[in-house]
Every structure is written in structure tokens, then in C-alpha cells.
């Protein structure tokens, strides 16, 4: 119960001001395409040089929390996920926005984010020692199976047909092999120096989602200049809260999946939203509504990606191992003040540790309040004419892709992928499975190689990958997931063929 004792520190004038600043700044940064939570936190690190350790961490914690949620704004209104964590939000969120329910989608996403986020931070407060053991339980073989589980989702994600989903997933898997292979240092498909580092995931994300949007907007803008991008109907917060409470299953699955996946070092938030979305869809009684602008989709994705924030810090705070890129940046923020995460942090600097954690708790609430306010403003943003909006999004896209690693190469990669995706979309392919392939490919590959090397030196590949409780459990889930998809595919085959003919 230490954390209650330090709650007062969060509300001292300067701390609270920083918390507010971090939250509002984080929402704005998060809503900007290409500025991922990792970048937002990295941008703020130099400011913390001049602050006390506690205050610096409050700023970073607040920014981390709210950038994750802020990414939903562009995901819903523009179909451009601010970070990989928000990909699943685009699936139903943008459809809702197109139907005029943008304000509702935003309200739901911020409310769900707050619920998931608070649950995640509470887990961090009460169960840290247990969770640390969990985080360590996932070795190379388990991460490999987890990535394969993700691959099984690809086919059914946001595509009219399973075959097209799998095809775009394969394109993503292939794109992921470009660059220097991180383990062996081999060079693959590098035809230009800017591909040496592989396809950057943020640049790819912007290209695959934003550029086709921009091209479509330009195309439409020519026909009807001055047309509104999307219409936004006003929606009361009370109704949104009621809607959220009517969907306890989506909220529960999202929150729990997000917390568990957020905990696993190296996989983290990138796939939490997608896995939660898929699970919610499978358990839902209204499966056919997913992808058509269904509120459950938004709730599951957003509660999951904020639930992952708290647990993703467990390996850092207890074992001093940063489990995600954002945690690595936070580690720098701690070290600069001479504080070592681990037992030193909780024993010798409890004021820092608990104030930091508390600030994330309060930050979730503030983020929700400001987010709901932003949702009210959404109607104005949406009144910008198509052609102007397209130009703004294009400028933001170029800026976002460039800023990831200050490289024009990433901008070219973004442009090429974007133009390619524009044509693929016309043939009924969609971007989400492609990005999922791009994310999962390297996870599956590196863990297979690494696990294989350990296995060869010890027990052999077969028993390393196929035995042990966790391995068998994960394999069972993979098999169940494939069987379920196959069964659904067979059941709706006639229906799908008709749809395909129309597409």
C-alpha cells in the first residue's frame, strides 16, 4: 500500500503541472502520424535533464500513457494509426467515423483506454513480483509460437477473403526480410543503401495507411471540391459510457489480453491491439458486424493497447531489463538521474518509483478527460475540405516518416509502399494483414534461429520447440485458431465467393 502514501507528491503544484503538460502534449504528439510513444518519450528526455528525478519521470510517464491513447485520434478520423498499437483501432474505428459516428468512436476509445490503462497500472502496483516471473517465462520457443499464433490471425483480419488476407500477409513477411539480418549479419534484398536497416515499421505504417488515403482524397477532391471528409454527429459522453458498459466482454478481453501480451518482452504493444481485436471477434455473438464499424472492435483494441502500458514496464522496474523500445528510453531517463531500476529503485528511491507509477494512474484519468474534450472538437477537424486535408496528411506523413530516424530513405520507402498499397487496395487487399506480417516476421524468424541455436547445443530442436507446458499450450491455441478459421471459412464459403465476385 506504499503507493497511497506517495499520492500527495503527484499533486504538488509543479508535478501536477508537468503531468498536465505531459498528458496534453502526449495526446497531440500521439495524434500526429509517425510520432510513436517511443519517439515522444525520447523527444522529452532532454527536458528532464533539468528537472528532479521524480518530476522528470512524471513527465515521461504521462507522455507515454497519453501518446498511446492519442494514436487513436488519427486512427479513427483519418485511418492512419499513430503507432503499431493503434492498427486494430482503424479497422472498426474509421468505419464508424465514415458513418458519421466519429465522435462516438473517439469517446469509446478514450473511455476504453482509461479502463484498460488503469487496470494495467494496478497490475503493475500489486502484482509486480509475480508478473516479473511471468515475463521471464517466455523464451525463444514460446515467442516463436506466439508469433505463429499471430500469423494465424492474418487471414481473417479485415479482408473480404481469407486468401487475399494471407497473400497480403505474405507480402508483409517478405518485406520483413529486407535488410541486414540482425542475428547473422547477412544481407538480404538490399538494392539501395536506404534499405540497409530494413523496412522501418513506422515508415511502413504511415505509407501503407496514409498514402492510399491521401490518393483517394485527391481523386475524390477533383470531382467534388470542398466536400467534407466525413460528417461527425454529436454524441453525448453519457451515451458512450452506457455503450461501454453494455460491452463488458470486449472490454474484458481487451484489457486482459493487453495486460498479458504487454508483459512479454520483445513483443509488447505492437500486437496487443490486434490479438485482442481478433479474440473479441471470435467470442462475440455479432461477428459479422466486425469491420463494419462495430463499437466492440474499437473498445477491444483501445483497452488492450493502454492496458499494456503498465505491465510493459514490469521487466524494466524489477529486473532492469527494458522489455520494449519505450521502456529502453525510460531507462535512459532514470539513469540520467543516477537511479537504477530494480530493487535499488523500490528500496532506496520509493518516492521516485511510486510517484512515477501514481502519475501514470492519474495520467490515465486526465488523458480520458482531455480525450473526451478532443472528441468534441472532432467535428471541426472533419469539416476541412478533402483537398486541404489530403495536403495536410501528406505533409504530416512525410514529416513523420523522416523524423523516425532522420532519413530521407524512410520517406522513399513510405512513398513506394503507399503507392503500391493504393493499387493493392483496389484489388481488395488490405493494409492491416500486411503490417501484421511485417511485424511478426522478424519476431518469428529471430526467435526460431536463436531457439534453434540453443536447441542444437542442448536438447535438439524437436524437444526444444515441442515440449514443455507453455509450448504445448501455445501450439494448442495455434491449432484451435487455424481450425476455427477453417471451419468458419467452410461454413461461409458460398457467401464469401459472392462477395469476392462483387469486389
Amino acid at each position: 500500500m506504499d503507493f497511497i502514501f506517495y499520492f500527495g507528491d503527484v499533486f504538488s503544484p509543479l508535478s501536477f503541472l508537468l503531468l498536465l503538460g505531459g498528458t496534453i502534449g502526449g495526446l497531440i504528439l500521439g495524434a500526429t502520424p509517425g510520432l510513436s510513444p517511443t519517439m515522444a518519450v525520447a523527444l522529452l528526455i532532454p527536458f528532464t535533464f533539468h528537472l528532479e528525478a521524480v518530476q522528470g519521470l512524471i513527465l515521461l510517464g504521462a507522455a507515454y500513457t497519453s501518446t498511446v491513447a492519442g494514436g487513436a485520434v488519427s486512427a479513427i478520423l483519418l485511418k492512419i494509426p499513430g503507432a503499431p498499437a493503434n492498427i486494430a483501432t482503424t479497422l472498426d474505428g474509421h468505419k464508424m467515423a465514415k458513418q458519421g459516428k466519429g465522435a462516438k468512436a473517439l469517446q469509446l476509445s478514450f473511455l476504453a483506454s482509461a479502463v484498460g490503462g488503469i487496470f494495467g497500472v494496478l497490475l503493475l502496483i500489486f502484482l509486480t513480483p509475480v508478473l516479473a516471473q511471468w515475463a521471464l517465462a517466455f523464451g525463444p520457443s514460446h515467442l516463436f509460437w506466439l508469433a505463429i499464433l499471430g500469423v494465424t490471425v492474418i487471414g481473417s483480419l479485415d479482408s473480404a477473403s481469407v486468401v487475399k488476407g494471407l497473400l497480403s500477409g505474405c507480402i508483409g513477411l517478405w518485406l520483413a526480410t529486407i535488410g541486414f539480418d540482425d542475428i547473422m549479419g547477412a544481407q538480404r534484398f538490399i538494392f539501395h543503401p536506404s534499405l540497409g536497416g530494413g523496412i522501418n515499421i513506422i515508415a511502413a505504417l504511415i505509407g501503407l495507411f496514409a498514402i492510399p488515403q491521401v490518393l483517394t482524397m485527391f481523386a475524390k477532391g477533383r470531382r467534388a471540391s470542398g466536400a467534407e471528409v466525413i460528417e461527425v454527429q454529436k454524441h453525448s459522453v453519457l451515451d458512450a459510457t452506457k455503450e461501454l458498459l453494455r460491452r463488458p466482454r470486449a472490454l474484458g478481453i481487451g484489457t486482459i489480453t493487453g495486460s498479458i501480451i504487454g508483459l512479454i518482452p520483445g513483443v509488447g504493444g505492437q500486437i496487443a491491439g490486434l490479438v485482442a481485436y481478433d479474440q473479441t471477434k471470435k467470442f462475440s455473438s455479432e461477428k459479422e458486424k466486425f469491420g463494419q464499424g462495430h463499437s466492440e472492435g474499437v473498445i477491444a483494441a483501445e483497452s488492450a493497447n493502454n492496458a499494456m502500458v503498465g505491465p510493459s514496464l514490469v521487466p524494466l522496474l524489477t529486473l532492469s531489463i527494458p522489455g520494449s523500445p519505450t521502456a529502453a528510453v525510460l531507462l535512459g531517463g532514470l539513469l540520467i538521474h543516477g537511479i537504477f531500476p530494480g530493487s535499488d529503485l523500490f528500496d532506496n528511491h520509493p518516492d521516485v518509483a511510486w510517484t512515477f507509477i501514481n502519475s501514470m494512474l492519474v495520467g490515465q484519468v486526465l488523458m480520458c478527460l482531455f480525450g473526451l474534450y478532443v472528441a468534441g472538437l472532432a467535428a471541426r477537424v472533419a469539416q476541412v475540405p478533402q483537398s486541404v486535408m489530403a495536403a495536410i496528411v501528406l505533409a504530416l506523413s512525410v514529416f513523420g516518416a523522416y523524423s523516425v530516424q532522420s532519413s530521407m530513405g524512410d520517406v522513399y520507402v513510405m512513398a513506394c509502399l503507399g503507392i503500391g498499397m493504393y493499387f493493392l487496395e483496389r484489388f481488395g487487399f488490405s493494409a492491416a494483414p500486411l503490417v501484421l506480417g511485417l511485424i511478426l516476421g522478424p519476431i518469428a524468424e529471430s526467435n526460431f534461429i536463436q531457439g534453434g541455436m540453443i536447441a542444437d547445443a542442448t536438447v535438439g530442436k524437436a524437444s526444444y520447440f515441442l515440449s514443455g507446458g507453455l509450448n504445448i499450450f501455445l501450439i494448442a491455441v495455434v491449432v484451435a485458431s487455424i481450425a476455427y478459421s477453417a471451419w468458419m471459412e467452410l461454413r461461409t464459403r458460398r457467401h464469401t465467393t459472392k462477395e469476392e465476385a462483387q469486389a
Binding site: 517511443t38 519517439m39 525520447a42 528526455i45 532532454p46 535533464f49 521471464l136 517465462a137 523464451g139 525463444p140 535488410g179 541486414f180 540482425d182 542475428i183 547473422m184 549479419g185 544481407q187 543503401p193 540497409g196 536497416g197 530494413g198 522501418n200 518482452p265 520483445g266 521487466p315 524489477t318 529486473l319 532492469s320 531489463i321 527494458p322 522489455g323 523500445p325 529502453a328 528510453v329 525510460l330 531507462l331 535512459g332 539513469l335 540520467i336 538521474h337 543516477g338 537504477f340 531500476p341 530494480g342 530493487s343 535499488d344 530516424q405 532522420s406 532519413s407 522478424p442 529471430s446 536463436q450 541455436m453 540453443i454 542444437d456 547445443a457 542442448t458
Partner: protein, 319 residues
Amino acid sequence: MKKLIASAAIALMGLAGTAMAEEYPERPILMMVSYGAGGATDFQARIVTMTAGNEDALGMPIAIINKPGAGGRVGWNWFATQADPDGYTLAAYNVPHFIAQSIKGGVSYSADSFEPIANWGADPAVFVVAADSPFNSMADVVAHAKENPGKLTFSGAGLFVGHHIAALQIEKAAGVKMAYIPTKGGGAAAMKAVIAGEVMGGINNLSDAFRAQEAGSVKILGVADLHRSDFLPDVPTMQEQGLDVDNSSVNFRGVMVPKGTPQEVIDELAATVPEMFANPRVAKKMQAGGSPMHIMTRDEVKEMWAAREQTLKELLAGL
């Protein structure tokens, strides 16, 4: 006409050149770090350059830009081929990483593509095992490896980086074969593999291992350097434990400029930068963050690069 323009342009460039040398630096300077934000190199680069704007240092701030990817290759390739050699683009180097990569090939740089300015830090590689491991010294590790050739797994951050060099040296010195497991995701992933018991041991950075030991999750068995570290006075070096491992794997970090940078600018930087590193505020922050400092001048770094290239060529010849 064309000739006239050309000669005018050359004259202008000459003018600009002299003007620059007199007033250098007249605008803020960029420093490229070829690893991601928040990594050890990035973190230390930000600390050691934080006083650059002071009057007694360069008088102009240094801004850090990150170009991560492929173990640093992306950033150094960019620096060797695209950075302007005008003194306003610096880069952080990591030895032995970039030298080993250039020996292995597939990159557009070598030690000759860059001009060193000064060295700020030296982070030795150490051998770590999980806190509950039966190994308590390097002798235990070697004995186990002798009985089980090729079966002792130990992790490190990739191939052709300091950790890999240390691993090769240990194997060579002890005359044993062990299974080096390169991880993706740098030292943090390699450390996680040790703590979680996925591997039996690992090579890691002294600074990270020191923190993990403070957190109670690992034991540090040996330091791959010529001397014991101030951070770990109780941990013996490899040589003290009878393994002939020198400081070839020590991760030296410092500042360099591209070849072709005007000599006056190099001289100016080589004179000022080591003093900037020696600022007590810098030392305090580095100490607090658990990052060992080791300031070397341009001439010392040149010597160190040449020596490293020699050793690495021999060591990597068989691979």
C-alpha cells in the same frame, strides 16, 4: 563563361573555407548516433555533449540525431557516404563494432573513412551468469565447457560486436568450444536470456551487468579488460583468471568526423572536445548512470584504432 563561373565558385569556396576556420563553429553541430534513442551509446552521447554550448567548450550546442539499424551499419554507411565533411556533422563511433563490420565486409566504410576526434568512454565486456548459477568463476565455466564441448550456451548482442569478439577470445584462450547465441535486440535481450535461464551464461556490457547485479539477478564472473573496473573492484579480470584475453572487446565510444574535413576544424575539435568531456558535471552524470569514462585524445584514439584493426583481422580471419 562556364570557366568564369567555375573559377568564381572555387574562389567563393576558398573564401568560405577560410572564413569557416576562423569562426568555427558558427552554428549548432549535429552528432549522429548509429543506435536508437535510449540505448547506452545514445544516452552517453547526450551526457558528454551537454556542455558543448558553454563558452569554454565549442560555444555551440551539439544536437544528437539517431540513425539506428543493422547493428550500427546504417548510420555509419550514411556517415561515410553522405555526411558533409565540413565539421558540422560529427558521429559517435563504437570500436570494435565498426572496425569488425568493415573487416567482415558488406559496408561502405572502413577505419580509413573516418577521422577520430576524441574518446569519451570504455565499457568492457563481462561474463555474467544468473544469480542461481552453479558457476562461480571463469574456471568453473571453462571446466564445464571442457567436459561438454559445444554445449555451454552463452548469449551476446549479435555477431561482429564487442560481445562476439570477447566470446571468440575466451574460447581461443581457454581452448574450448562453446555455443555463442547472438540475440536480436542488443544487450538487453542477451541479458534477459541469462536472467531467464534460457542460456547458461552470457557476455554483456559492464554498465548493464553492474545494474543487473545491483538488482540481484546476475553474478559477474570476469571482466574482459586489462584492469579491474572501478565499478567492480572485486571482480577479477580474465587475465587474472588465467585466460589470455586483452582489451580488444572493450566497447570504446567517442567522436569522429568524415574523412575530408578541413584540418583546421579537426585540430580545433581535437583540442576542445577532450576538455569538454572532462567537465566535472559530465563526469558526475556518467558516474551516476554507471557508465565508465575513459577520455583519450585524437592521437591516442588513432593508435587504438590501428591496434584494434590488427587484432581483429587476426581473430576474424578464421571465420
